[in-house]
């Protein structure tokens, strides 16, 4: 039996189909990553799975319990770490955890030990009796992860668990997440914007775009599927990148921050690239041959770079200005 199983799960808001016939299966102890650009339907999917939103049609079951028919029972067996903090910053770390234990009906004697154990797991035991207001962003995240685990959930939902954290803190959170499936016997679903996060943590990823799964599999499989080697180019005129599509040694051209050529056979293609470019009069400023990453997979299926999606208006403006300046 799968711990999480959805069948044609669909959510419509008026005319917009946010999630469109989603069918996924996640086995026990797996770490499943849901990737996709903003507005792709990740959060809506998560909200339906954790009973915050009702599906328009289709079904979803957690541990065999339908989320629509048994929301109360489902809530008992899931833990959630929301994208935005959801702890009371006027209570201490320990009090936040105690409150959670009380709300979920964890037996008091057990709760005390459990809270101590989890505080040690996320290395907050020495700061547990401080008001959360004094915590850093990373500490809050860690506290929330601990909180989500108090009632021994079968499934833990992590919505963008490391967003807005510095690289060091992020690495630490990854470390905890990696230990959870074995130490806590929990199945994890996470959404993320960071490809390296998904690649490093997930046993299986689903790339979602316009409410539909466009690719599903382990990061390794997905990477292998798109090809063995990728050439990453900087062109003087990026608009000419598509011309490479006509070359016999190129499987696919993806234009993101750089131009990515998926090659039929690695290193031997390099001279051909230069030959081809010289024939066409395309100027190559730099070329790098590398093995593809999940980011290339993402580009391949979604056709646009996640990092651009994710940057806010200000960044985008800066980037446009930067580009204009270069021309």
């Amino acid at each position: 039996m799968y711990v999480i199983e959805t069948n044609n799960l669909t959510k419509k808001f008026k005319d917009i189909v946010a999630v469109d016939g989603l069918s996924i299966q996640i086995g026990e102890g797996e770490v499943f990553g849901l990737l996709g650009p903003n507005g792709a339907g990740k959060s809506t999917t998560l909200n339906m799975l954790c009973t915050i939103m009702k599906p328009t049609s289709g079904t979803a079951a957690i541990n065999g319990l339908d989320v629509d028919c048994h929301p109360h029972e489902v809530r008992q067996i899931i833990g959630i770490v929301f994208q935005d903090t959801s702890i009371d910053n006027r209570l201490t770390g320990r009090e936040n955890l105690q409150m959670h234990a009380e709300l979920y009906g964890v037996e008091r004697k057990l709760a005390k030990d459990r809270i101590g154990e989890l505080l040690r797991l996320v290395e907050l035991d020495d700061r547990a009796d401080e008001i959360v207001k004094n915590y850093s962003g990373g500490m809050r995240r860690r506290l929330e992860i601990a909180r989500g685990l108090i009632h021994h959930p079968k499934v833990l939902f992590l919505d963008e668990p490391t967003i807005g954290l510095d690289p060091q803190t992020r690495a630490k959170i990854w470390d905890y997440i990696k230990r959870l499936p074995t130490e806590e016997k929990v199945t994890i679903i996470l959404t993320t914007h960071y490809m390296e996060e998904a690649q490093g943590l997930c046993d299986c990823v689903g790339i979602i775009d316009h409410g539909k799964i466009v690719a599903l599999g382990s990061p390794k499989e997905l990477i292998r599927e798109i090809g063995e080697d990728v050439a990453s180019l900087t062109l003087e005129d990026k608009s000419r990148a598509k011309e490479f599509e006509s070359a016999s040694f190129v499987k696919k051209v993806n234009v993101g921050e750089q131009v990515m050529l998926v090659l039929t056979d690695g290193a031997s293609s390099i001279p051909k690239i230069f030959e081809f470019a010289a024939q066409k009069g395309i100027k190559i400023q730099s070329l790098e041959l590398r093995t593809p990453t999940l980011n290339d997979v993402f580009l391949h299926y979604v056709g646009r770079d996640l990092r651009h999606e994710h940057s806010d208006g200000k960044d985008r403006l800066k980037m446009t200005m930067h580009r204009r300046g270069m021309r």
């Binding site: 809530r75 929301f82 959801s86 702890i87 006027r90 209570l91 959670h100 009380e102 709300l103 979920y104």
Partner: protein
Amino acid sequence: MRVRAVKTIWLREVKVYYRDKGSRISSIARSILWLLVFGGGFGAARFQGLQVGYQEFLFPGIVAMSLLFTSIRSGISVIWDKEFGFMKEILVSPASRFEIMAGKVLGGSTIAMTEAIIILLLGPFVGAKLTVSNVIISIAIMFLTSLSLVSIGLIASSIMKTFEGFNTIMTFLIMPMFFLSGALFPVDKMPSWMAPVVAINPLTYGVDAMRWTLVGIGNHDILTDIGILAVAALATMSLGVRAFNSRE
């Protein structure tokens, strides 16, 4: 209903209030200011036809005022909970909407009563006589009144989406409820167009019952007051549960 869930929400309300020293002190100071400065000044100007001194007349009104301000404030604190995301944690927990609502109302009511009792104990300074029995009856009236008031705050918070709405609530809800409750002046001498508002304001009956208990004067029969307060509490609480359910 699980008592444990209700108690958890209640405890959190009380703890958070207890830690927020600033607003506690300012809210008690506000009541004292009204009682001593406003009451002293107005009392010196002399009201016609009051059976007792003005400060004595005003005293139950100020106790009710502190109840009003603190209850509504705690009811609309749900807006803050939503802004800080904490409400999500509670809403996805196995606690039912009814349990959450009950915990919130009882928590707000406890806080409001604590402040009102502090003001009540200042009674002897303005000529009110406190006995064991009238203190106990006052506390019972406070409890009943605050149930309605906190629920009204909760209903307001479900209508107001952001906390910029707080000033609106202050102007259009708290102040009119305060002025049109008989807390500051006798309602029987008010212009007649105000009468319907006075009549539907639950605080009117709280003030009246409190004035009967503490000063021995009033407009309605105290049992009528208590009956109306009980009905108002039930009505506002059931509306509050609805408001809570429609959230999402």
